[in-house]
Each structure stands twice: as C-alpha cells, then as structure tokens.
C-alpha cells in the first residue's frame, strides 16, 4: 500500500518539478513552508493585537473596525492571519503524510515524528483559540461545541457548557483570558517546533526565498480578493443556524452533533495514538549497522560530527592516549547508517597502500570493500569513453546503467562518497568521466547528502575534490527512483562531453596541493 502511495507521490512531485525545478519544489520544503507560515501568522498577529480590545462587545467591534475601517491594513492583516493559519494546517498535514508515505518516521526519526504529532494538536488548539476571540456566531458555535466536547470527559464538577447558557454568563475577563492564551499557546507551539527540529543538524526552517515570496504573494492576493469576514455578533440566546465553517480547523465540530462528543474523542484520540505508535509498528525488521569509529585512523577533526545530518556524532575528550584533543562518539539510537560521516573523514583516502580503514565507517559498507568493488568494476570496462557511476541506494538504481563502457556502484547515500574516490578512478585514465547520482535535489533521503556532495565537489567544504580533477569530466545527476530517463540523459551528456576531451593525462598537475592536513577546517 505504502509502495503504491510512494509511486503516486513521486509522480505528483514530478509534476511540480517541471515548473519549480527540484531545488524549489514545494513538496520538498513542506516543513520549512510551515515554519514560514507560522512567522507570517506571528507578524500579522502582532499587528492585530495592537488594535484588539478585550471585552464581550469590544472584541467583536474591534475586529469589525480592523476589517472595515482599515481594510487596506488591518483587514489584509486579518485575512493574512487567517489564511496563513489555514496554510499551516495544509502544509503540516501534507508534511506528515509525505513523511509517512516515504517511510521517514521510524528508527532514528521517531523523535521528530512523535514531536510532530504533538505539534498537530498544538496547532489546532492555537487556531481554535483564535477563532473564539472574534466573538461572532462562529466563535459562539465553537465555544459551546468545545465546552460540550470536553464535558464528555469526567473531569469537571459542573458542565463547562453552563458557562455559555446566556448573554450574562460571558464577561470581559473571559476575553482577557482568551487573548492571554492566544499568546501563551503559540509560544508553547514555538517551543515544540524547536524541539521537533532538535535532532536534526542544519534543520531547514526557512524555505528558499523564492518559495517564501511566492507563498506570501499568493496569500496576499487571496486576502485582497476574499477578505476574512466575521459572522454576526455572538448572541447566546440564539443558536447559530448556517455557519461558514473553516474546515481546516473546525471540521470535527459538526461531528459532535452528527455522531457524539464521545465518538469525536474516540476519533481524535484513536488517530493520535495510531500516529504515535506508527514508528514502532511499521519499522523495518532489520536495521542496518550503525557507524563505527576507528580511533587508530582518527585525528579528532570533527568533520564527521559537523556533517552528520542527525547529530548522531558528538565529540568527546580523547580516551586512547593519542595526542589529539577529541574523538567522535556515535549515538547508535540517532545514527541513520547513511555513511555521510565516512564521506567527510579525511582518512577516507583510497590511494593509501596500507590497509584502507577510515576514521569512521559503516560495518556493512567498509571503505576497503568499496575500493575493491571499484577496482573490480573498472577492470571489466572496454571502449573509448569509459564512465564510472556512483549512485545512491535511495535514488534511481544506477546499476541499470551498467554496460561495457559504464561501471556503476551504489552507496547508502551519495554523501558517503569521499571525493578522493573520484580522483582515484580517474587516475591512469581508467575511466574518462565520473557521474555522481543521488536522490532528487531537495529530497535527499538523509537530508544533507546532496548538499555536502555538491559543496565538496565545488571545493567549498572539506574534504575537497582535489584541484587536479577537471570538473568537466564530472556530471551530477539528481534522479529519484522513477527518473531513469533523467539519469540516462545525464550519462549520455557526460559521455558526449568527454568524447570531445583529450583522452590522455586526465588529471592536471597539482603539486601545490596536499592530500590532507590534520587541522583542515572548512
């Protein structure tokens, strides 16, 4: 089932890839867009707060004044506040659904998943609380509905709904409490948003600028075309008849009356418990072995810790007596077994003649084995335009590209590839070009694999690709599981390009360069 949904999702995302490109595809930035919408709500909310008055009459009137007397500012801000809040629900639920479909919720990701599920509740509490503040018929409907819903729980000595029986039952203090809650709950929400991203190194909390601008313009246009309006003033002597419901936040409320409050509790509680249990119920039977540190080949440079996408590596004081200050320690609960740390390690140097062991490695994907596999794959190549393809297990299967002239090897993540291996395969003209393939850009399974690979190849992040490696002999292709055509096109383009280049002396002279300096930082 999930496989089918995954295929469907990949196709849908591909539709968006055409106009947006992989880097700007909104599907790859749903979490960051949610953060952006949150800040939009905060900024517009601060403006609204300056004009909001707490009181049974004043609350409604102040919102009406904002909406009509200063439609160009207050009205737009109110609409922006409303639509950005609705947008949060859309992007947040899509983010959750997407992570479920792509299987990004178990093992080392359980914490983000569980904190994300709790965030859903907080977002709904914030949104519903906001609707009360207008004190129109919709607010009245929600206030009474919420009270009736909570009265089902055996918690209160008197029914909460008794507080909304008649006009005199609601007083000005109630709105002071509501506005206080409308500051406090978003602050708690922000705290949980921080906790949600806590276990991620370089968490993306800001979408690309163009995506943010596009989203804001869309919301502004909507605010001008269809401004958010209030219902009539709340009147507890009258029952709300026909209501223009905000279905993003308030969809459960009609169910209170179609089913019963108990059924809605069962639904909300059931969905929550089910979602909370997902990381343990749907986890794979086998988990790949986590990274291991080899202190004999480690100088404590910290690069593995800096590049780890899930902060699974921390640097601790050295224990083995060697003259270095620090050593990496892997938290097995956080390790994704992506191998990005191996790609970051300066000891991942295939030119070494002695036993090849990196400072940090995946036991199932030892660097020595990778070098043997590379040598073996290259030995069988024929023809004039020979290419080595390094791919990623989570992306298009590059082994489908293999031929007499093309060798292909797949790694857990393309970020695991030490740049020195590109240098290694190009020496002695064993191949004429190298193709680097990974997940769709913006959708790296391990978040930072593509980003670090691009920076390493651009010589902007250590370990750099050595300057003697000519970049025109390297082609990067970010292709998802379904993107075979894209991968084949990239390979053809590379082969056509290198066919035009001289076939001898591929590597340029770079005697000024060193292979590795222990103190090297970015």
């Amino acid at each position: 089932m999930r496989k089918y949904l995954q295929n469907l999702l990949l196709r849908l995302e591909n539709v968006f890839n055409a106009p947006f490109g992989q880097a700007l595809n909104p599907w790859y930035h749903l979490g960051a867009i949610t953060f952006f919408l949150f800040w939009t709500v905060v900024v517009s909310g601060v403006y609204l707060y300056a004009f909001y008055r707490t009181g049974v009459e004043e609350a409604y009137q102040s919102v009406e004044r904002l909406t009509h007397d200063q439609w160009y500012a207050g009205g737009v801000m109110r609409s922006l506040h409303r639509y950005a809040s609705d947008g949060i629900v859309v992007t947040m639920l899509l983010h959750l659904l997407r992570n479920f479909i792509t299987g990004r919720f178990h093992s080392f990701r359980w914490f983000s998943w569980v904190s994300g599920v709790l965030l859903v509740w907080l977002v709904y509490i914030c949104g519903i609380n906001g609707y009360w503040m207008v004190w129109d018929r919709l607010a009245q409907f929600i206030a009474v509905g919420t009270a009736e819903w909570f009265d089902w729980l055996p918690l209160f000595s008197q029914p909460l709904a008794r507080n909304f029986l008649g006009q005199g039952d609601v007083n000005d203090r109630f709105f002071t409490l509501l506005s206080f809650a409308h500051i406090t709950i978003p602050l708690v929400l922000l705290l949980f948003m921080w906790i949600h991203t806590k276990r991620m190194n370089n968490a993306e909390t800001n979408p690309p600028l163009r995506l943010a601008v596009g989203t804001l313009l869309a919301l502004l246009a909507l605010s001008l075309i269809k401004p958010a309006l209030s219902h009539a003033h709340a009147d507890l002597a009258l029952a709300p008849g026909v209501i223009r419901l905000d279905w993003f936040y308030l969809a459960p409320y009609p169910l209170l009356y179609i089913w019963s409050p108990g059924a809605v509790w069962a639904l909300a509680g059931g969905i929550t418990l089910l979602l909370l249990a997902v990381p343990w119920f749907l986890k794979p039977r086998m988990r790949p072995a986590v990274a291991e540190v080899h202190l004999d080949n480690c100088n404590g440079c910290s690069r593995c810790a800096e590049d780890c996408p899930y902060s699974a590596i921390v640097m601790r004081p050295r224990q083995d007596g060697r003259p270095y200050a620090l050593q990496p320690v892997v938290d097995p609960n956080l390790c994704a077994s992506c191998g990005i740390c191996t790609g970051a390690c300066p000891y991942s140097m295939p030119f070494r003649s002695n036993e090849l062991v990196s400072g940090i490695e995946l036991p199932d994907h030892a660097l020595a084995t990778l070098r043997v596999d590379v040598d073996h794959a290259l030995a069988g190549l024929r023809g004039d335009v020979r290419v080595m393809v390094f791919g990623c297990d989570c992306a298009y299967d590059v082994r489908a590209l293999q031929s007499e002239e093309v060798a292909a090897l797949s790694l857990p993540c393309i970020g695991m590839l030490p740049p020195a291996f590109i240098d290694y395969v190009l020496r002695d003209t064993r191949v004429n070009g190298v193709m680097i393939a990974g997940c769709r850009e913006g959708d790296c399974q391990y978040r930072l694999g593509i980003r670090w690979t691009k920076l390493r190849l651009a010589r902007q992040r250590v370990p750099h690709l050595r300057r003697r490696v000519p970049l025109q002999r390297i082609e990067c292709c970010w292709a998802g599981i379904q993107d075979g055509e894209r991968a084949r096109a990239a390979l053809s383009a590379l082969r056509a390009r290198i066919a035009q280049l001289p076939q001898a002396a591929i590597l340029e002279d770079d005697t000024r360069e060193h292979e590795f300096k222990p103190g090297d930082k970015n």
Partner: protein, 170 residues
C-alpha cells in the same frame, strides 16, 4: 520547459494553493440548526436531599466517639438521586436519573442537555424529584412560544426565596 511556461506553472500552483485555502476556509456552509427549529437547554446544578435525615446524638452515643468527633448533630452524607422529567405538549422529551457525584455520593448533581425542538408554541412541563420517597417535589408547566433559532434555557434553583424550582428563560 521555457521560462514563461515555468512561471505560468508556478503561478498555477500558487493559485491552486490559494483557491483551496480560500474555498475551504468558509465553504461549504454547515447548517447547525435547521431553519424551523429551536433549542431547549436543560441545565442546572442541584444538591438533592440527604438519603437519611440528620439526627441528634444522645450523650451515650457521643461518649463513644473520640473527643474531637463529638458533634451533637449527625448528618449522613449520602444524598438521593435527582430524577428529572421534561415533557413537551404532553409527550416526554427527556427523562434522567442523576446520581450524586463524589466518593460518598454527597455532591450536587449536574446536568446539561441540549434538545432540538420545532419552533412554535409548546406546553412544557418540567418535574424534579430530589428525595427518596414521594412524588416529584418541583413541577412547573408553562406555554412558551419558541421563535426559530431561539435557545430556551431551563434552569433550576432551589435557593430562590419564595419561589424555588424551575426557571424557564426564553
């Protein structure tokens, strides 16, 4: 894909996002109360009579108690159930037996019940019994005209001097 087509595609995607937000933020409309209906809310808080009446302890009974427990009046804590009936035009609309809350069953019984009724003039009869024996202690009957969409609250107050009982607020 040309730049123009790309921008058009992006514009379409943003427009789709805005249309979804704009539509579902107010539509489709939800009818909470049908046009020709009114709402009756039966709600009150009431502590029923004690199951057994208080009695004065004799000196012999007091002597058996610890010095700090020697209070002349002995009132058993447990209270009776509260039985409530509501009729509209001679037909029973609602009937409930409310048990007193608390570990000793000595709390005030509470009720909140919303009842959807057709708008128009109706004869409402509310009855309440809050003791172990006998018939209903409090009864109120009244003809009430409920406008469409109106909420009528039926409250109960036992401590209103001179006129304890049901209150119909329309």
């Amino acid at each position: 894909m040309s730049h123009l087509l790309k921008y058009l595609g992006q514009g379409l995607a943003y427009a789709l996002f805005a249309v979804v937000l704009g539509y579902f933020s107010t539509s489709p409309e939800y009818t909470h109360l049908p046009a020709d209906s009114a709402l009756v809310k039966l709600s009150f808080n009431h502590a029923a009579q004690r199951k057994k009446p208080c009695h004065e302890r004799t000196d012999a009974e007091l002597a058996k108690l610890a010095p700090n427990m020697r209070i002349r009046k002995d009132c058993p804590r447990e209270r009776s159930d509260v039985v409530v009936e509501l009729e509209m035009d001679g037909k029973q609309l609602y009937h409930v037996v409310l048990h007193p809350p608390g570990l000793s069953h000595d709390g005030a019984a509470s009720i909140y019940r919303r009842l959807l009724v057709p708008a128009g003039t109706h004869r409402f009869t509310a009855r309440l019994k809050d003791k172990e024996e006998g018939d209903f202690s409090f009864v109120r009957e009244e003809n009430i005209t409920l406008a469409a969409g109106r909420v009528m609250v039926i409250d109960f107050k036992a401590d209103v001097p001179g006129a304890p009982g049901f209150i119909f607020k329309n």
